[in-house]
Symmetry: C7
Subunit: 276 residues, 7 copies
C-alpha cells in the first residue's frame, strides 16, 4: 500500500472507507446467502431418504448458521485490519493451530458423510438387511447421514459411525448355506449312512419351502480320532439357514437311531498295567 503522504491522504481515507463499506456489504451478503442455503438444505433433509426429525434438523441448522457467521466475521475482520495497513501474519499463525486441531477432528465428520453417501449410492445395504460390519452383526434398523444403527440378535442396538463401515458383509443378498457335520463311528458303513441321510434330506426338502437346493452329503470331511465326519450341505433362502441346520440335525439323529447307526462318544484305547 504505497502512496504520497501529502497529497493523497484525503483520497486514501476515502478509498479506505469505501473498502470498509465494501467488506461490510460483502460479509452481510455472504451471511445471508449461506443462511438461506442452510435453511433450504435443512428443509430438504426433513423429507429426504436420510430422514431426520424436524427438531433435530432445526437445531443442526441454527448451529451451522452461527458457525458460518463467526467464520465470516473472522474473514472480514482480517480483511479490515489489512485494509488499515495492520499486519495480520500473527493472526494467521495463531489460526493455524486452530486449523490443524479443527481440521483433523472435522475430517472424521466428513468421512462419515462421504461413506454414508457411498453406502446409499452403491446400495451396499438397506434397512432390514442382515449385515456384518467390524465384527458386529445384526439387522440394519436405520441408515443415517452420519451413523448406522444395527440391531443385534441378542437385542442390542449397535450405533456405528459410517466411517467405520469398511468391509461390509451382506447376508441377505442371495441363497445361504446350511452346513451340518455328522460324526459316525469307524465301524459304521459310510455308504449306508450317506443313503440314510439322503433319504432324510429328500423328505425334508419336500416339506420345507425355504430350502432352495439339497441337502446333500458332500463326503468325508475328516477322519477324526473317534469318528468319521460326514458333511451335509443345503442352500436355503436367507435367514432360514439356522432353522434348516437345527431340523436337519434332529432328523438325521432320529433316523440314525432307527437304523442303528452310532454317533460315537470320544473313544480311547487304554493299555492297563496293574502290576506297576
Amino acid at each position: 500500500m504505497e502512496f504520497d503522504f501529502v497529497g493523497e491522504l484525503p483520497f486514501r481515507v476515502l478509498y479506505g472507507a469505501l473498502q470498509l463499506v465494501l467488506i461490510f456489504i460483502i460479509a452481510g451478503i455472504a451471511i445471508g446467502i449461506s443462511n438461506k442455503f442452510i435453511s433450504r438444505f435443512s428443509e430438504r433433509r426433513k423429507k429426504a431418504k436420510f430422514k431426520m426429525d424436524e427438531a433435530k434438523a432445526d437445531t443442526l441448522a441454527s448451529t451451522a448458521k452461527s458457525i458460518v457467521k463467526y467464520v465470516i466475521y473472522f474473514i472480514a475482520g482480517v480483511a479490515i485490519l489489512e485494509s488499515f495497513g495492520v499486519d495480520t501474519k500473527g493472526i494467521i499463525a495463531a489460526a493455524g493451530v486452530g486449523a490443524i486441531a479443527i481440521g483433523f477432528a472435522a475430517q472424521k465428520l466428513v468421512a462419515d458423510i462421504i461413506t454414508g453417501f457411498f453406502v446409499l449410492f452403491e446400495d451396499q445395504f438397506s434397512v432390514g438387511d442382515y449385515i456384518m460390519v467390524q465384527g458386529i452383526d445384526g439387522i440394519v434398523e436405520e441408515l443415517g447421514l452420519r451413523i448406522t444403527k444395527v440391531r443385534g440378535f441378542d437385542g442390542s442396538l449397535h450405533i456405528i459411525p459410517n466411517r467405520q463401515i469398511e468391509i461390509v458383509t451382506n447376508k441377505i443378498r442371495g441363497d445361504m448355506r446350511a452346513l451340518v457335520d455328522i460324526g459316525i463311528a469307524y465301524e459304521e458303513d459310510i455308504d449306508k449312512a450317506t443313503e440314510v441321510i439322503n433319504r432324510v434330506a429328500e423328505e425334508y426338502n419336500r416339506e420345507n419351502e425355504e430350502i432352495v437346493e439339497g441337502p446333500t452329503v458332500l463326503g468325508v470331511s475328516s477322519l477324526g480320532s473317534s469318528d468319521v465326519v460326514l458333511t451335509v450341505m443345503a442352500k436355503t433362502k436367507p435367514m432360514a439357514q439356522w432353522e434348516v441346520e437345527r431340523e436337519l440335525r434332529k432328523r438325521i439323529k432320529l433316523s440314525f437311531d432307527k437304523e442303528g447307526i452310532e454317533i460315537p462318544h470320544q473313544k480311547h484305547v487304554v493299555y492297563n498295567k496293574t502290576e506297576n
Copy 2:
C-alpha cells in the same frame, strides 16, 4: 513500505504512531469481547445439559481467558514489529513448531467435544442406559462435554474420553434375548425333552411379567460328543435377561429330574487292553 525519506518522515512517524495506537485499541477490544464471550458461555454451562459445578466452570473460564489474552498479545506484538519494519519471518517459523505441537494435542480435545455433541444430538445413549463401548460395559452415570462415566457391574467407575466412543452398543433400546443351552443324553427322546421344556416355559411365562415372548425351544443346535444340545430362547424386557436365563436353567433342570431325562456328564468309550 515504500517512502521518500526526506520529505515524508514526519508524516510517516505520525502514521506509524497512529497504527500503533490502532493496534492497542483493537487488541484491547478483542480481549474485552472474548472475555465477555467466555463468561457468558461459562454461565450457560452451569445450567445446561452438560452440567458442570460452579467452581469448575469458573476455573475453566479464567484459564480460557488468560490463554486468549496471551494469544492476542502475541498477535499484536507481531503486528507492532511489522509496523516498525522489523521482519517477523523468524517468529512465524518458531511459532510453527509450537503450532504443530499444540495443534495436534488440542485436536484430541476438539475431537472429544465434537463426539460428545453428536452422542447427545443423536441420542446415542443417555444417563442410566446400559451400554458397551471399547470393550467396557456398564450403566452410564454421567455424559459430559469431554468425558463419559460408566459404572461397571463390578462397581468400577470407567472414565472414557468422548473421542474413544466410536461404536456404541446400547443394550436398553428394545427387548433382549435370553438364551439357554441344555444338553441331553443321546439316549433321550428329543421330542419328549422339548415338550417338557415347553411346559416349563409356558408356566414361567405366565408367572414372570418381564418375559415378552415365550421361551421356546429353537431346536438341536449341536450334536456333541456326549450330548444333544437343545437351545431355548426367550425375549425379555431389558436387564431381565440374566434372571430369566438363571431361572429357566433351574426350572428345566428340576423338571428333567422329575421326568427322568438325563443331562449327561462327559461320556467316553474305552477299549481296555490289559494283556499289553
Copy 3:
C-alpha cells in the same frame, strides 16, 4: 495495486471492471468445459468395463457437476475480492481447515480408484475367480471402480472398498493341492499301508479327470502319541481339491478296512494303583 489516486482513478475503475468481466467469462467457460468433460466421462462409464447402470451414472454426474460449480464459484469469488483490493488471507486460512478435512477424507476415494485401476490393469483377479483378501474368501461377483463384491461360500456377499485390497490370494490361477493326513497305528506296517494307499490313488486317478497329478504318499509327517501320520498329496484342477480330499479319505478308509489296517483311536497307557 499501486496507483496515482488523482489522475488514474477513471482508468483504474475501467481496468477493474474489465478484470471483473474477464473473471466472469473465464468462470463460465470453466464450468462449461468441466460439465462437458463430466458428461463425456459419465457416458463412457455406462458402456465401459467397470459397468455402472445409467441412473447411477447420471446421479454421479450431476453431483460432480454441482461440486465443480461451487469450487469455481469459490475461486472466482476470491479473484473478484482481490481485484477490488480486499485482502483474502482470512478466507484462505478458513479454507485451510476445510482443505485438511476434505483432502484427507477424499484421499480414501482416490486410493479406492487407483487400486481398482491396478487390479484391472495387472489382472490380479477377474469376475468368477476364487480369491482371498483381508481374511475374506469367496468368488468375485463384481469388480467395480470403487468396490469389489465377493460371494462367500456360505452365501454372504462381501463388499470390499478397493483400497482394502492389498495382498490378494488368487486360488484359480493354477493347479491346487489336495492334502490328506492319515494316521495309522504304531503296530501297522508303514510300507504296506503306503502300498494300499498307492493302489487306491492309482485307481482314483484313472477315474477322476480333475486330478492332475498323483495322489502320492509323501511319507511319515509325524510320529504322534497314538498314531503314525502319513501324508497323501495330489494336484487337482482349481476348485476340485475339496472333492478329491473327501473322496480320497473315504476310499482310503474303506480299503484300510478291507486290508485290516487300523486307524487308531487315542491311545493311553495307564498304571493302575488300587491299593492307594
Copy 4:
C-alpha cells in the same frame, strides 16, 4: 525495500542502524520478560498441587530459559539479516526440517501436560485411589504434571506418561461387587443348597461391617458337564471384595460339608469294552 540509491543512502543507513538497535532492544526485553515468567512459574510449581522438589524445578527452569534464549537469538538473527536485505528463504526452509522433527516430538510433551491437567481438573482419580489404566492396575502414588506413578499389588512401581491415560477405571468410587461361583453335584437339591448358602450369608453379613448388601444367591448360572453352578453375589466397601469372596468360599465349603452337599470333582461316564 525500494529506494533511490543516490540521494537516500545516508538516510537509509541511518534507518537500517535504527532498525538494528530496535531489534537488539526488543530481543533483550523479550529474554528478560520470559526469564521472569519462567522463574515465577517455577516458584509456584514448588508449592503447588503438582509438587516438584526444588532442585528439579531449578534445573527445569534454567533449561527452559536457555531454550527460550536461543529461540529469541534465532528470531532476532533472521530479522537482522532481512533488514540488511539478505534473503532468508533458505534459513526458513532449513528450519522447517527442525520444525517438523521437534514439533512432532514436543507434541507428546504437550499431550502429557494437557491430559494431566484434565485428570486433575475432572478429578478422574487422586493419590491413594485404586485404578486401572492401559492394563495396569494398582494404587496411585503420585499424580504429576507429566507422569503418574501407580503401585501395583505385587510391589512394582508403574510410571505412566499422562498421555497414555485414556480410559481410566477407578475402583474406589462406589461399592464393589464380590462374586463367588459354587458348583454342586447334579444329584443335590438346588433349593436346599441355596438355603444353606443364604443362612451362611446372613450370618456373615451380621459379622462383617464391610459388607454393604447381600450376599445373595443369584441363581443357576450354568449347567456344566459335572456340576450345577450357583452364583453368590455381595456388595462391599471398596477393596474389601477379595476378603469377602475368600471368606464366603470358606464358610460355604464348611457348611456344605456339615450339610452333606457335594462339591463335585469332574465326572465322566465310561463305557468299558474289554473284549476288543
Copy 5:
C-alpha cells in the same frame, strides 16, 4: 504489476500478448518432451528385467501421457490468468485439497516402485526362490515393478504389492535344517537309542546326496510327562528338508521296532478308589 495507465497501455498489451505466446510455446514444448520421455521409458520397459507385455506398456504410456497433458494445461492456465492480473490464490487453495488427496494416495505407488527397485538391486530374492513375506510363503513366480507374485504350496497365487515387502525370509540361500523329535519311554536306555539313531543316520547320509551334514542326535531336549524327547538334526540342500525329515522319521521308527525300543503312548498313573 504496476504501471502508468495513460502512457503505457499499448506497451503493456503487447507485453501481455508476448507472455501469452511464450506460455503456449513452453507448454507445447513441455508436452512434447514428456511424451517422448514416456514413450522411450515405455519402449525400454518392454525389453527390461521387469518385463511387461506390449499391450500393457502401451496402455500405461497413453494414460501417463494424458495425465501429464492435463497437469501442464493446469500449470499454463494458472500462468495465463496471473499474466492478466487475475488473482489465483483461490485456485491454489482448491488445488490444495486435491494435492493432499492425490499425494497421499500416490505415495503408495511410489513406495511400491522404490521397494521393488531395492528388492532387485539388493537381490533380496529372485524368481524361483522360496520366500516368506508378511506371513505368506511360497515360490516367487514374478518380480514386478509394482507387485510380486508368489505361488503358495497349496497352489494359490499370492499377489503382493511391493510396499508390503518389509522383512523377507529367503529359504533358498544356504543349507536348511531338518529337525526330528523322537520320544522314547522313560524305561528305555538313552544311549542305546542314540546309537540306533546314529546307525540309521549314517546309512541314510550315505544313500541321500541331498543331505549336507549329519543327521546327528543333539541330545535330550525335553523330559515330558510320558516320554524322553531326543532331537535329531541334519543339514540338507534347500527344499530337501521335508523329505529328509519324513524319511528319517520312518527309518528311525522301523529300526526302533527292530531293536524293541518303545515310542510311548501318553502315560498316566491312576489311583483307583472304588469304595467311594
Copy 6:
C-alpha cells in the same frame, strides 16, 4: 528489486557486491560459532552423566560439524542467488521433499533424546534397577542419551531406543510380594492346614531377614474341581521374592507331609458301564 536501469546500475552493482561479501562473512561466522558449540558440547559429553567414550564423541562431533556446514552452505547459496535476482522457488520446492523425508526420520532421534532426558530428570530408573519396559524385563546396565541397555535374566542384552520407553515398571522401588498357591484336598480341614502354614511361616520369617512382612494365609482363593486353594502371601525386600516363594513351597510341602495333609492329584469320578 526495483531500480532505474540507466542511472543506478553502478550503485546497484556495488550494493550487490556488498551483499555478497556480507553473506560470505555471516556464513563463515555461523560455521565458526556452531563448530565451537559442537566441540564444547562434545567435551562435556565425555565427562557427563550420559557417559560416552572419547572416540565416539569425536566421531559424532565431526559428523555434526559437516552436517551443519552443508546446511549453512545451502542457506548461503539460496541467499546469493536471490541477491542476483534469480528466483529460488524451485529450490525451496525441491528442498520440501527432503524436508519431509529427513524431518520425519529425524523426529525419532529427537524423541529418543527427549525421552532419555525425562527418564533421567524424573529418575524413572537408574543403572542396576530391575525394570520392565515394552514386555522386556531385566536389570538396567546402561542409560544413554539415545538408547537404554537392559540385561535379561537369561543373559540377553536388550538394546532399547529411548522413545520406546513409554510405560516403565520399576520393580526395585519398594517391598515386593511373594505369593504361593497351595491346593489341599476337599477332605482336609482348612483351619488345620492354615495353622500348619502359619507355623511354618512364623519360623521362616524368624530365619530370613529378607522377609519384611508375613507370610500369612489370605484365605480360600478358589474352590477347584480337585482341590481347595489357599493363598499365602509375604512381603519381601526387592529381588528376594522368588527365593522366598520357592522356600515357602518346600517348607509347606514338608510340614504337610509330616502332618498328613494331602496335596491332591487331579480327581475324577467315573461311572463305569461295562455292559454296553
Copy 7:
C-alpha cells in the same frame, strides 16, 4: 518486476539475458559438483565398513546422478520462467503433489540409513552375533547401510530393512543362562533329589569348560498336580546354553534312575462308581 516500458526495454532485455546465462552457468556448476560428490562417496563406499561390491556402487551412483540432474533441471526451469515474468505458482502447486508422495516414501529410505548408522555407531550388534529383532532370531550375516541379513537356525536368510530394527536383543554379550525344570513325584524326598542333582552338577561343571557357574538347584518352583518341580540353573558361555541344558537333562535322568527317584507320569485319582 516494475519498469518503464518505453525507455528501459533494451536494458531490461539485456538484464534478462544476463540472468538466463547466469542460471545456465550455475545449473552447470551445480551438476558438476554434485556428480563429483556422488562419485567420491561411491568410491569410498567400495572400501568402507558397509562394503558394497563395485557393480552395485556404480549402478547406484549413476542412478543418483541422473536423479540430481533432473532435480537441477527442474529448479533452473522454474527460475528461467520466473525471470521471463511467467508465473510459476501452478508449477509449485503441481510439484506439491509429487513432494508429498515422494517425500513420505523417501522417508523410509532415510530412516533405514539413520538406523543403520546408529546400529554401527553404538555397536548394537556386529556380524556373527546371535540377535533377536522383531520376532526373528539368528546370526547376523551382513550389516548394511539399508538392510541387515540374519541367518536363522533353520537355515533361512532373513533380510530386514534397518528401520525395522527397534528393540534389539543381543544374545552374545555376556554369559547365558541354562535352565532345566525337573519334576519329581510327591512321594520323593526333595532334599535327596537336590543332593543327587548337585552331585551331577559338580561333576558336569568339572568336565565342561563352557559352564561358567555351577548348575545349582534354585528350589521348588511349582507344586503341580502330579509333581514337585525343581529348577536347576547354570551360567554358560554364549551359545553353549542349549547343549548344557540337554546334557543336564540326560545326566539327571540317568542318576535319578540309579538312585530310584521317580520322574512321574501324569497322576489322577479316580473314584469308580460301577453301580450307576
